[in-house]
């Protein structure tokens, strides 16, 4: 059941039309509710998504399928079976958002719903940065991947995957860099499922635990020249091998479970990107 949900989430994430409008540059980045030293919630706006995390409530990730103007608001509709919605607009040195109830009809928006008010803070609190940093980075990277992989240019998709995952700047993916992608993907999927912060933390934790093992298995199956790194050429040459790289589950049941999920997630990601 869990795997089906993960696959669905990734499939849905990749099903974005290339024509979606972007969030204005000045509205992108992290916004906070409450005191900057101890914010009650954080909202991250990327080019085509909004992720909201808070201590007690489930996370919400809306990946915009389409946006339009509505009575002074930007009305964004997300991907997914429930087509989540977000209304946003710039306010005095801040941002206002409305997340309508699921039953509320579009033609009755914005209605009398009270907007959430967000503001910028000098720095992201360290705990929030540690919990969500990699996930939000992956969310942004995913948008670049979608753009590149939807272009139809031969080799552009594999190159984009390597570019987005490459931290060291050698235009190759190491085990650590692939593991980081796994952790980021874990966060995105958990956020899209509406997980609470502790579950998000657990998802990233399991992703991290199994991520290295997964990355090594993927490396073994794609690294043809045996240099311990994946190049764009190796990735584009044999995407099928990458997809089958779940290998043999080993270790404790927890680790096997995490491995299977992480591997399945990355497999779905790469399959989806290369197959579009």
């Amino acid at each position: 059941m869990k795997k089906t949900l993960l696959a669905c989430a990734i499939t849905a994430a990749l099903a974005l039309p290339a024509t979606a409008q972007g969030v204005p540059e000045r509205l992108r980045g992290a916004w906070f509710a409450g005191d900057c030293a101890d914010p009650t919630a954080m909202l991250v706006m990327t080019g085509r998504a909004a992720a909201r995390v808070e201590a007690e409530a489930p996370a919400r990730l809306v990946r915009f399928r389409e946006t339009r103007e509505l009575s002074g608001w930007t009305f964004a509709t997300g991907v997914g079976a429930e087509a989540p919605r977000l209304l946003y607009r710039a306010a005095d040195e801040g941002l206002e958002t409305i997340e309508p109830e699921a039953k509320t009809r579009d033609d009755r928006l914005p209605g009398d719903a009270r907007p959430s008010v967000w503001r910028r803070c000098p720095a992201t609190p360290p705990l929030l940065a540690a919990l969500h940093g990699e996930g939000i980075a992956f969310l942004a990277a995913l948008e670049h991947l979608e753009a590149a992989c939807g272009s139809g240019t031969p080799g552009a998709c594999a190159t984009a995957i390597v570019q987005q995952g490459d931290i060291s700047g050698d235009s190759l993916l190491s085990v650590a860099e692939v593991a980081r992608l796994v952790r980021g993907a874990s966060w995105v999927v958990a956020a899209q499922e509406g997980s609470t912060q502790d579950v998000l933390f657990g998802a990233v934790g399991i992703g991290g635990l199994a991520g290295v093992v997964t990355a090594r298995l993927l490396m073994d199956s794609v690294d043809y020249d045996g240099d311990g790194k994946i190049s764009a050429g190796e990735l584009g040459t044999d995407a099928a091998n990458f997809a089958r790289a779940t290998g043999t589950p080993a270790g404790t049941p927890l680790r096997t479970q995490g491995l299977t999920e992480s591997a399945g997630m990355l497999r779905g990601l790469v399959d989806g990107l290369l197959g579009r």
Binding site: M1, P58, G80, A81, E82, A83, E101, A102, K103, T104, R105, D106, D107, R108, G194
Partner: protein, 394 residues
């Protein structure tokens, strides 16, 4: 002796003063102020003295509560000031914490400035009463003369919260008492012939109460969403009690069994992950031990599974093939008003389907109206909701 010159000077003045005093003396005696009348009330009962009234005998109005905002605790005194009055005889009425009254008629407060309620000669028993149950203990009685003479509620206006204690004060020469506790749900627990002189503590925990019948209730989730929480509580209770699913959830298509103690009539509440909730009150769980949670279940005549029956006769499903969620579904007899939204607090996500039963068990034909989230309506008039077909709307 004063000098004679000085005596001559003040003699006229002294004479004038003396004459003045002689003249006004009787007048002063006639207008002398009445004395301040005060007395002490002594509470030697084992109840709080809540109100006190002092009035002339047989007066139509017994006047104000002389305690004002005060009360007199068992064993305590209170000074009552009546103000200036020449009256001596009064009726003094005490009202205790449990509402009972006691009156002293024609008390002469000039001769006796202390009014005692209760018998100060009786020994005092201080007993700690513990409520170790999970329910509020509402009333407490103690009787040395058997169940026919329970006397006043020893808690007065207070209660003993769950897992709390109360200090009960008894003025009596008796030691052996029957003690009776009445809980918030009206159930009673009696400890018989307890020696409160030997043991100054008594505990109530409902362990002696006969357990109410336990029933098994099965929930089947035929909704289009996971059920996050399920609550079941007696219709007579104001609290929903604990989430019957505990740390788990009830997925779509899933089944959950819970044991319910109490009578047959229960209220049921389910909560969805999006915070939406549905409730149905006064459900006879003895007649309906299986509750199928499905769109419209809160208003359906049949609460039991019915899945066997509907599958054999072919229940109709509505599939959302549109590009937005469906937010309302109506199915009513042809030509009739739409009735209630069959989705209740739920929605039908894109690509998913939901079972829509006939509006009447004996009539399958219905006008079906599906409302998408953008307000667009799709109607299917005169459809057969027993056909077993899937109706795709887009």
């Amino acid at each position: 002796m004063l000098p004679s010159r000085f005596r001559r000077m003040i003699a006229p003045a002294l004479r004038t003063l003396l004459l003045t005093l002689l003249a006004i003396g009787p007048a002063m005696a006639q207008g002398q102020q009445p004395p301040n009348r005060e007395f002490t009330v002594q509470n030697e009962t084992d109840l709080i003295l809540r109100e006190l009234y002092v009035a002339p005998p047989n007066a139509a109005d017994r006047g104000p509560d002389r305690l004002g905002a005060d009360t007199v605790a068992p064993g305590a005194n209170f000074r009552v000031r009546l103000g200036r009055t020449r009256d001596c005889v009064f009726d003094v009425t005490a009202i205790y914490g449990d509402g009972t009254e006691e009156a002293r008629r024609r008390v002469d407060l000039c001769r006796n400035q202390r009014v005692v309620f209760g018998d100060p000669g009786l020994p005092t028993l201080d007993v700690t009463v513990a409520n170790r149950s999970r329910m509020v203990l509402r009333e407490l009685y103690a009787s040395a003369r058997g169940p026919s003479a329970w006397g006043p509620d020893r808690l007065g206006a207070t209660v003993i919260e769950a897992d709390s204690e109360f200090r009960m004060r008894l003025r009596s020469r008796d030691c052996v008492f029957d003690v009776r506790a009445v809980y918030e749900d009206d159930r009673e627990e009696v400890k018989e012939r307890v020696d409160l002189c030997a043991n100054r503590a008594i505990t109530f925990d409902r362990s002696t109460l006969p357990r109410p019948p336990s029933r098994t209730l099965v929930f089947l989730n035929r909704h289009v969403s996971t059920v996050q929480e399920v609550y079941v509580s007696a219709s007579t209770e104001s609290d929903w009690g604990p989430d019957r699913l505990g740390t788990t959830t009830l997925p779509v298509g899933g089944e959950s069994t819970t044991a319910v103690e109490g009578e047959c009539e229960m209220d049921i509440r389910v909560v969805f992950p999006n915070g939406g909730a549905e409730e149905r009150r006064e459900v006879d769980i003895c007649a309906n031990p299986r509750i199928v949670l499905r769109p419209g279940w809160v208003a359906m005549e049949e609460l039991d599974d019915g899945s066997a029956a509907t599958s054999s006769t072919g229940a109709t499903r509505v599939r959302n093939a549109g590009r937005l969620p469906v937010v309302e579904i109506y199915a009513a007899p042809p030509g009739a008003p739409r009735g209630e939204d069959r989705l209740g607090a739920d929605i039908l996500p894109i690509g998913e389907s939901v079972e829509v039963g006939p509006p009447d068990a004996n009539a399958c034909a219905a006008d079906l109206v599906v409302v998408f989230r953008d307000g667009r309506e799709v109607s299917r008039l005169g459809v057969d909701l027993c056909s077993g077909e899937e109706i795709e709307v887009r």
